[in-house]
Amino acid sequence: MYAATALAILVVMGLAIIRAILGPTAFDRLLAVNMFGTKTVLLIAVIGFLTGRPDFLDIALVYALVNFLSTIAVLRFFEGQGRKTFTHTEE
């Protein structure tokens, strides 16, 4: 039961990787990475149950908390780039 769930999550992860590699725009890649992060949390939780030591959910918890950070950082970076191109056109 858990094994089938883990496999399904792995399939989704594979599709997200393909999108992250192909992704024509940077936003597509960011979306894929974001989705990949969510699926990683789920996979770690399911693996915990699969191996019979579900007390290791702390790792999933870390990802749930901190994964947010990289998305914010990239958005911040986009903003910086926008400002840079903006000043370029000004000059």
Partner: protein, 123 residues
Amino acid sequence: MSWIGHYNYWAAIVLMMLGFYVVISRGNLIKKLIGLNIFSTSVFLLYISMGKIKDATAPILVDSTLAPTTVQVYSNPLPHVLILTAIVVGVATTAVGLALTVRIHERYGTIEEDEIRAKDDSL
């Protein structure tokens, strides 16, 4: 099915060689650092693969009052200790490398290796 037994090691070697390839063939300094990161991850994988024992569990003592299980086998904790610290040290050294790259960019205006070398020669 002997290849399954060595699949981890081979994957680690493939990753290591990919990182190595980036480091020796790409001129961009940030790309080189990314390659170095891939290389170090491959080393981490190799160590952790060696520490794993089949059907063993993580090296945290199972509370026998909560989970009355059969005899427990634990994976080897030593590689975990080595790699745990190596990851944090790795990110610190990557940061130093990136700082050097930033300084090189400020001095030379480029982070491509051959352009830097050309500027060095012309000086």
